[in-house]
């Protein structure tokens, strides 16, 4: 459904994405993983035409997309990493605003918005300003707004940030069900336990370049570890985590340059 072909993007001297290629198929949950600053969000923004690539191209359903042609965006839902919301709108007004931009009929926005907010325990606060919401409530609004127009592709950048365990379980089920219905989901997260159990395929990138791609099982077995987080540590070069942690604990225990011991 989405094909990313040899995209590169630099910011000054920093090469954020470097000749990256991958594809996301219908009916799959695809995880884009990498350490902080690896280029995940830049890649997503290029897919959404929010950033222009220096080179390379993106195909959506086989057609090349450009920043001038934004019709394909009506088939994409996006949950950004930053909590980008108009905080002086109420939860319902924000959904109404997004629904209007997608030309969803007013009565449909009303019934769908109300039902979704109710289902996610936001019914009682739907008329409160978003600035009064907790972080988890804001995140729920973001996720709901991405699904409101029933998109074919859903791009989720750290969707579980700030959500409680129950909400995470609910959304995991929703994401799986959406994939079963033939939707494509692109998923960025640092919670690798969830990624391991939820996604079909993984691409790990570092410094904007592809390191490895495959199913979670393939990646784990390639490194000889038993879990995805250990495999990820090794692949991204974060070795000897235990001794690093010990060093940091020692630094914390040091005051005025002297060790408390």
């Amino acid at each position: 459904m989405i094909q990313v072909e040899n995209i590169s993007r630099s910011f000054g001297d920093l090469k954020a994405v470097n000749d990256l290629s991958f594809r996301v198929n219908t009916g799959e949950i695809f995880a884009l993983l990498g350490p902080n600053g690896a280029g995940k969000t830049t890649t997503i923004k290029i897919i959404l035409s929010m950033l222009k690539p220096d080179s390379g191209r993106i195909r959506f359903d086989g057609k090349e997309i450009s920043s001038e042609d934004n019709g394909y965006k009506s088939r994409i839902g996006y949950v950004p990493e930053s909590c980008a919301l108009y905080e002086n709108l109420t939860g319902f007004e924000f959904l109404q605003f997004i629904g209007n931009l997608h030309h969803i009929p007013e009565d449909e926005i009303k019934s769908k918005g109300d039902s979704l907010l109710e289902a996610l325990d936001l019914g009682e606060v739907s008329n409160q300003l978003i600035r009064e919401y907790s972080k988890g409530m804001k995140q729920k609004i973001l996720i709901v707004s991405a699904f409101l127009h029933d998109p074919d592709v859903i791009i989720l950048d750290e969707p579980f940030a700030g959500l409680d365990a129950n909400a995470v379980s609910v959304f995991k089920e929703i994401f799986r069900e959406q994939a079963n219905q033939g939707k494509a989901l692109v998923f960025c997260s640092h919670i690798l336990e969830v990624v391991e159990r939820l996604v079909d395929r993984i691409l790990i990138i570092k410094e904007g370049q592809k390191l490895v791609t495959g199913t979670p099982e393939e990646i784990i077995s390639k490194t000889g570890h038993t879990s995805l987080d250990r495999a990820f540590n090794e692949l991204t070069g974060a070795q000897d985590i235990d001794s690093k942690a010990r060093d940091i604990v020692d630094i914390i225990g040091n005051r005025n340059g002297k060790n408390n011991e």
Partner: protein, 545 residues
């Protein structure tokens, strides 16, 4: 397909405008905000309308002072263009520049043209409202003078067209500059421009009314060549031709106005794109060299010895904000022209003699003396005002979570502003006054007296304005409010002692010392009151960020 997608979607335009106005109403960065009204009884836009109405009364005088309707139109409309341009930039900047829009709207199927059509209409709505508020009185005045209801409408329309032209020009300059230079540089550039405009507006408000007496009597715009360069002249020629018959150069200049208007519109549409909004979201990626700690200087060793943790923490924040927050930097720097303005205004009397602020006063000279006092407190108070608000106000949680002394922290704002501004100001004043009076002793005595009174005034202002540093959201009309407060307290605190000393004199060195001791005692009492009020306020405070 591409062409279709780039069409302006009317439905989306309507939704975006509705959303913008709703956000203006509920936000804190636009004078329309009702958020502010909870504290201040009415939205900031009402203050702007009142200010425009007052200005419009002054402007309406042009129609009675100038030779004909056309001359009145050209001058008044040009004045309103300047005022509206400044108001758009200073008060309604969010209609042009809002970085959050891009992050929220860009992932959705909204074309660049649709997005910016909404921005343009949003701006035009405000320009229209501002234009009406400033043109109503002059339009009626012109109607009365020329005894025609038609003239009322013509003046209205002429003002509106000129103001829209000014707004379009500003929008184009903004977008053009953004295309040429990166966002950080643009912000810096706009910030300095902002300061120049504030200063110009401030000077203008004080100087222009004085000029009215001299410059406008029976002026005919046709006698002045430079008026042909004014957009208000170009658009006014159509009215001139309708009334007095056509002339070739009027027709040509009228057409020039229309052509330039169309070109501005065309450039705006071709320039404005979502990539413009995108550039607003970019952060600087240029790697900067790491600064190495310099070895401690004597000054920094003395500072560490005599300051407390709160002073040092605040100074560190001030340095970081001054370096990286353009709004803060501009707020701080804006005190430089203001101090110069007040000093010049109070020292030079009727353009010739240098005044002594403690000399006996006659008539309106008392006010000029008080201006001298205001010059002494405006700089430290501007700094304190800038320290209270910040874009990163939510980071103030650290003041609630850390085991610091918050009374000290609040008082540190005054201490540091005295250290950074009041003391250098005292040295500067001593030098200036020594030079002007030709007596160092005379200058130093005056300076010490003025500065000690200024310290009282500052503490008094701070007794009634208790806020944690960098812990308040920036609001749009803080600046005007702060200046008003400073003027009011300045008049109150400086008026009495300057009057007494001016009438009675110092009474020798002993008398002078007595005055100083009294002022220091008053300041000490005010300090006690301040601590009490801070403790009371702290007991109620909660962090809501």
């Amino acid at each position: 397909m591409k062409v279709y997608m780039q069409k302006i979607d009317r439905e989306q335009v309507k939704i975006l405008i509705k959303n913008n106005i709703r956000l203006d109403w509920r936000g804190s960065t636009n004078p329309l905000s009702s958020y502010q009204s909870k504290k201040k009884k009415f939205p900031g836009i009402v203050v702007i309308f009142i200010m425009n109405a007052v200005l419009s009364v002054i402007l309406s005088m042009f129609f009675f002072k100038t030779a004909d309707l056309f001359s009145g139109l050209v001058f008044t409309a040009f004045a309103t263009m300047m005022v509206i341009s400044m108001q758009i930039m200073l008060e309604f900047g969010n209609t042009l520049i809002t970085s959050e829009d891009y992050l929220i709207i860009a992932p959705h199927p909204v074309s660049s043209k649709t997005f910016f059509m909404s921005k343009i209409i949003h701006t035009i709505l405000y320009v229209t409202a501002l234009s009406v508020s400033i043109s109503a009185v002059p339009a009626v005045a012109a109607g009365l003078k020329y005894k025609s209801i038609g003239v009322v409408f013509l003046v209205f329309i002429h003002f509106w067209v000129c103001n829209i032209f000014a707004a379009a020009l500003i929008m184009n300059i903004y977008t053009w500059v953004l295309k040429v230079i990166d966002r950080q540089r643009l912000e810096r550039w706009l910030g300095y421009m902002h300061m120049v405009f504030i200063f110009s507006a401030y000077i203008g408000m004080n100087i222009i009314p004085r000029m009215f007496k001299h410059v406008l009597v029976d002026i005919n715009v046709e006698d002045l060549i430079w008026t042909k360069l004014l957009p208000s002249y170009w658009f006014g020629t159509w009215i001139k031709m309708a009334i007095d018959g056509w002339q070739l150069y009027h027709l040509l200049l009228g057409l020039l106005g229309i052509v330039l208007f169309l070109i501005l519109g065309k450039i705006a549409v071709s320039y404005l794109s979502l990539s413009y909004a995108e550039s607003l979201t970019k952060t600087g990626w240029n790697k900067k060299k790491k600064r190495h700690n310099k070895s401690s200087s004597i000054i920094s060793r003395i500072w560490r010895k005599y300051s407390n943790e709160e002073d040092r923490a605040l100074l560190m924040l001030i340095r970081a904000n001054f370096k990286h927050d353009i709004q803060f930097r501009i707020g701080v720097l804006s005190m430089v022209p203001l101090v110069i303005f007040y000093l010049v205004f109070s020292l030079i009397s009727e353009g010739s003699n240098v005044r002594d602020p403690f000399a006996p006063v006659e008539g309106t000279q008392g006010m000029t003396n008080i201006m001298f006092g205001i010059a002494c407190i405006i700089a430290p108070y501007t700094l304190i005002g800038s320290l209270q608000a910040s874009k990163q106000w939510k980071a103030a949680w650290v003041f609630f979570a850390a085991p610091l002394n918050r009374v000290n922290l609040i008082r540190a704002m005054e201490r540091i502003s005295n250290l950074l501004v009041t003391i250098p100001m005292a040295i500067f004043l001593s030098i200036i006054l020594s030079f002007l009076y030709g007596s160092v002793l005379h200058a130093v005595l005056h300076t010490i007296t003025l500065i000690v009174i200024a310290l009282c005034a500052l503490t008094l202002i701070n007794v009634f304005s208790i806020k944690l540093p960098f812990a308040m959201d920036n609001t749009s009309n803080n600046w005007a409010g702060s200046v008003f407060k400073t003027m009011f307290v300045g008049m109150l605190v400086f008026g009495i002692p300057l009057g007494v000393i001016g009438t009675k004199g110092y009474g020798g060195y002993l008398g002078w010392m007595l005055y100083i001791i009294i002022f220091l005692f008053v300041r000490w009492l005010l300090g006690l009151g301040q601590i009490r009020r801070i403790k009371k306020a702290l007991a109620k405070w909660e962090f809501t960020g």
